[in-house]
């Protein structure tokens, strides 16, 4: 083994680089000790209260489904971490990368182990955020930042929908424990909210697992470094949606809507993605599209509502994780050692990189589903399942055959094109990478062969218990390599033949694809339009509501006030029940004087008239106070009104003429609406009986406790003396501020 290790700087040579990988490997070993327990259909549980008032617990549960994912997360994680520590040997940001990857691994583990829906959601968002940071790892590149944001927005919005869906389910079920949900499926299916919760939960799952039409973020996320893509975007995170669909299928599944939605969305995703995969010349992008394709297949089969389909799906989860992580890591090796991932620029590397080729060949054979690889078993189970699904066997089977044939062609492209023919690569003298990089992928690739040859290692211990958890009942299936000559085998043979044809015609297919379907099904464009639309909407709102004009701000404030007042009147239950009562002439005359004065202030252009009328209004109000037994109020009102008039008169000598201007219809409407609202609101208030508790109390104790005969005064200076103190403070502060404003220190503001 020729090591190309450049002399590492002392700081980077530290043993800490392999610590995260080691920890994950130990965790994988620990999880593996649960295998015998799980094989018996048992489970392990760990519960502590978290937010008891909301009935939320930190509940974890390890059953066959969780264990499978936990093993994938820790096992493939250890391999990817080890690989990354070599891949980024000379990158000073390795510490950051490993920390983020570790955080991600913890979130992902929490997600698959959580038994409480809210706990699950928290970890779900944890994977979204760490994925955002990892995709944007090369944050100096705009494309990486955009891709990261895209992934965050798409999966983050889906996450919100998921939260709403989970809360709906929790409300209907009365518990947030998922293990209890899966046993009360009928409650959800019979609930009037079933469609709502199904839509919301599936939205979350579809965005996370890159289903059509949300698939576009995943190829974008390939801006992430290769070890990250191998870990997050093939083996673990993108399967979170699939995991949740599988987890909740006993609770939500089994209905027509469920079956058809999953079948159609999955099938569309599968076909669209496999066609796009063939268009790619960048090997990593091509693998990304085949990942989308695989996720579509998983969703389609989980919707099959047939135990063979379920077994096929859960087997394929493991099959896919094994070969796809291997291929991603191998493409990373090609990229690192030969200088490019462009398939057209590579060729004849079989002598220079024999180990890499061997690993890729093993993985690609499993991907194509050749005998005797693990992929073959997965494919046979899928075909067997396709023929018995609840929706439409013919549709599912033909979609599966077509997609698998395209997968065979894609496998051929990865495994053969770079290695056959004349040797060429951008980097001179390519060679196999150091051991720390190839050992992990090699292990995964060999496992793909071992599980194929000895399916009993994994079938009854993991796959069948997992299928039972997902199917929610017994699964009478045998996981074996050779099931005899049956329909599934015939479909397999047809797949291979079709696949070879695709492979040989690949360049021609690609050319015609470029010509015929240049931009078909490019949901990324829709995303761009939507994003731009949101920005425009935000800018428009800001421009309209915050135009920088003071009158506009006032206008919106008063308009909102009017709406609130009218809303309260219209929603309020009590009607208006008020009698006119007796109206003395003198009282009416006072009201008329105030009304006329008010009108005069609004229409007059003369300052003198306005000031006089303002005084008229104030004095009129003072008279009303006197008439209705408020002598102290009237006195104060009169004094204050005189001061106001004097002040305004003095100030007006210095201020310009006001002018009246034309009638402003819009402002007048707002004013009238608010005025009428106050009138009707006040009448509605007066129609309700007056609560005299507090006045009665003051009347009773005014003399006995405070020794005052004027109750109003007693209230002000005794019972509510602190209020009065505050009032005096306000006046003093206003006076000080007014003096400061009038003196002003003489500095003029620049125009």
């Amino acid at each position: 083994m020729t090591s190309t290790a450049a002399p590492a700087t002392p700081e980077q040579a530290g043993i800490w680089r392999v610590v995260p990988a080691l920890v994950l490997a130990i965790a994988a070993g620990w999880f593996a000790t649960f295998l015998p327990l799980i094989a018996q259909g048992e489970y392990a549980e760990f519960v502590v209260p978290w937010i008891p008032s909301l009935n939320i617990e930190l509940a974890f549960r390890l059953d066959a489904l969780s264990l499978t994912f936990a093993l994938l997360i820790t096992g493939i994680g250890a391999i990817c971490f080890l690989y990354a520590s070599t891949y980024f040997r000379s990158d000073p940001r390795l510490k950051r990368l490993l920390s983020l990857l570790t955080l991600f691994a913890i979130s992902m583990l929490g997600l698959v182990l959580a038994d409480d829906a809210i706990t699950l959601f928290v970890f779900w968002e944890g994977t979204t955020i760490t994925s955002f940071l990892l995709v944007g790892y090369d944050h100096h590149k705009k494309s990486a930042r955009d891709s990261a944001l895209q992934a965050l927005l798409v999966t983050g919005l889906g996450g919100l929908a998921l939260l709403a869906g989970l809360i709906l389910m929790g409300q209907v079920a009365g518990t947030y424990r998922i293990s209890e949900w899966v046993q009360m499926g009928g409650i959800f299916r019979d609930s009037g909210l079933y469609l709502g919760m199904l839509t919301l939960v599936l939205l979350g799952c579809f965005t996370k697992s890159a289903q059509f039409p949300f698939h576009f973020w995943l190829p974008g996320a390939m801006a992430a470094p290769t070890p990250v893509s191998a870990y997050l975007h093939s083996a673990t995170m993108v399967k979170a949606g699939v995991y949740l669909i599988a987890r909740l299928s006993p609770a939500l599944g089994g209905t027509e809507v469920w079956t058809w939605t999953l079948t159609l969305v999955g099938a569309t995703t599968m076909i669209v993605a496999s066609i796009w995969a063939l268009k790619q010349t960048d090997l990593k992008l091509m693998l990304a599209y085949t990942t989308v394709m695989a996720l579509g297949a998983l969703v389609m089969f989980l919707g099959g509502d047939y135990y063979y389909a379920t077994t096929g799906a859960v087997t394929f989860i493991i099959v896919h994780a094994l070969y796809k992580a291997t291929l991603f890591l191998s493409v990373g090796m090609l990229d690192k050692m030969a200088g490019t991932r462009e398939v057209e620029a590579l060729g004849g590397l079989r002598r220079a990189m024999p180990l890499t080729w061997g690993i890729i060949l093993l993985a690609a054979a499993s991907m194509a589903g050749f005998l005797p690889f693990f992929g073959f078993i997965g494919k046979e189970l899928k075909y067997e399942g396709a023929l018995g699904v609840a929706s439409e066997p013919l549709l599912v089977a033909s979609a599966a055959v077509l997609a698998n044939a395209l997968m065979v062609a894609a496998a051929g492209m990865v495994a053969l094109k770079p290695f056959l023919g004349a040797q060429r690569s951008p980097k001179p003298a390519p060679s196999d990478p150091p051991m720390t990089m190839w050992i992990g992928p090699a292990l995964l690739a060999v496992m793909g062969l071992t599980f194929g040859l000895f399916p009993d290692l994994i079938g009854p211990t993991l796959i069948l218990p997992m299928a039972e958890v997902v199917y929610g009942g017994p699964v009478p299936v045998e996981v074996k390599l050779w099931a005899g000559v049956n329909t599934a085998l015939k479909l397999s043979i047809a797949t291979f033949l079709l696949g070879f044809v695709f492979y040989w015609m690949l360049s021609r297919i690609r050319q015609s694809l470029d010509k015929e379907v240049p931009r078909v099904a490019d949901a990324a464009e829709g995303y761009e339009i939507l994003l731009q639309g949101m920005k425009d909407l935000a800018a428009w709102t800001a421009r309209t509501i915050q135009p920088g004009k003071m009158t506009s701000y006032l206008r919106y404030t008063f308009l909102l006030m009017g709406v609130l007042v009218w809303g309260a009147i219209l929603i309020g239950t009590g009607g208006i029940d008020l009698e006119l009562g007796d109206v003395p002439i003198f009282h009416s005359a006072i009201v008329a004087i105030i009304a006329v004065s008010t009108f005069a202030i609004v229409v007059t252009g003369s300052r003198l008239v306005a000031i006089t009328a303002l005084g008229g209004v104030g004095a009129g109000l003072a008279v009303i106070f006197v008439l209705y037994s408020a002598i102290d109020v009237a006195l104060t009102q009169l004094l204050v009104e005189i001061l106001v008039v004097v002040f305004i008169a003095v100030a007006l000598l210095k201020l310009p003429r006001a002018g009246t201007g034309r009638l402003r219809i819009g402002d007048a409407s707002i004013s009238v609406m608010l005025g009428l609202g106050v009138t009707f609101g006040l009448m509605a208030v007066m129609s309700t009986p007056l609560d005299r508790t507090i006045p009665d109390y003051f009347e009773a104790v005014s003399y006995s406790e405070a020794f005052g005969r004027n109750i109003v005064n007693v209230i002000l200076v005794d019972f509510r003396a602190l209020d009065t103190l505050g009032e005096i403070a306000v006046v003093v502060i206003a006076a000080v501020a007014a003096v400061a404003a009038l003196r002003g220190g003489g500095q003029e503001v620049e125009k």
């Binding site: 920088g548 004009k549 009158t551 006032l554 008063f558 009698e579 006119l580 007796d582 109206v583 009201v591 105030i594 008010t598 202030i601 609004v602 306005a610 303002l614 104030g618 109000l621 009303i624 209705y628 037994s629 109020v633 009102q637 204050v640 002040f647 100030a651 007006l652 210095k654 201020l655 006001a658 002018g659 201007g661 402003r664 402002d667 707002i670 004013s671 009238v672 608010l674 005025g675 106050v678 009138t679 006040l682 007066m686 006045p695 003051f698 009347e699 005014s702 003399y703 005052g708 005969r709 109003v712 209230i715 002000l716 009032e727 306000v730 006046v731 206003a734 007014a738 503001v749 125009k751």
Partner: protein, 121 residues
């Protein structure tokens, strides 16, 4: 009488709002005074109207006669009038200062905090 005073309150509010929206500092101040008056009247009317029975306790008595006016809204309004007056004085001084600093009494031309080039995109 109550509906008439409720109508008067609404009229004062409408006039005050219309004046405040005019965009002229002087008329804005007029509007502010009207709105303060309207608020006081609103509290007063909502507290119930009682004619010619001020909340006083006769000499020699320990409690007021039956049916005197509600003292609570009166106390509240007294506070409100004074605070409204303080607010008015401050607003007046501020308006005067703003006029001399910026050379205009048009509120929409006072764009020191949000200059035109910021929003005119």
């Amino acid at each position: 009488m109550e509906p008439i005073l409720a109508g008067l309150t609404g009229l004062l509010v409408a006039a005050g709002v219309y004046l405040m929206l005019s965009g002229n500092l002087v008329r804005y101040l007029f509007g502010l005074v009207m709105l303060s008056n309207a608020a006081n009247l609103l509290i007063f009317v909502a507290g119930g109207l009682t004619r010619s029975a001020p909340p006083l306790i006769e000499a020699g008595q320990k409690v007021p006669a039956e049916g005197v006016a509600n003292a609570l809204p009166q106390a509240l309004i007294l506070t409100a009038i004074v605070i409204g007056f303080g607010l008015f004085c401050f607003a007046l001084a501020l308006a005067y200062r703003a006029f001399y600093a910026m050379g205009t009494a048009k509120m929409d031309d006072m764009r020191l905090a949000e200059p035109l080039e910021d929003t005119a995109k």
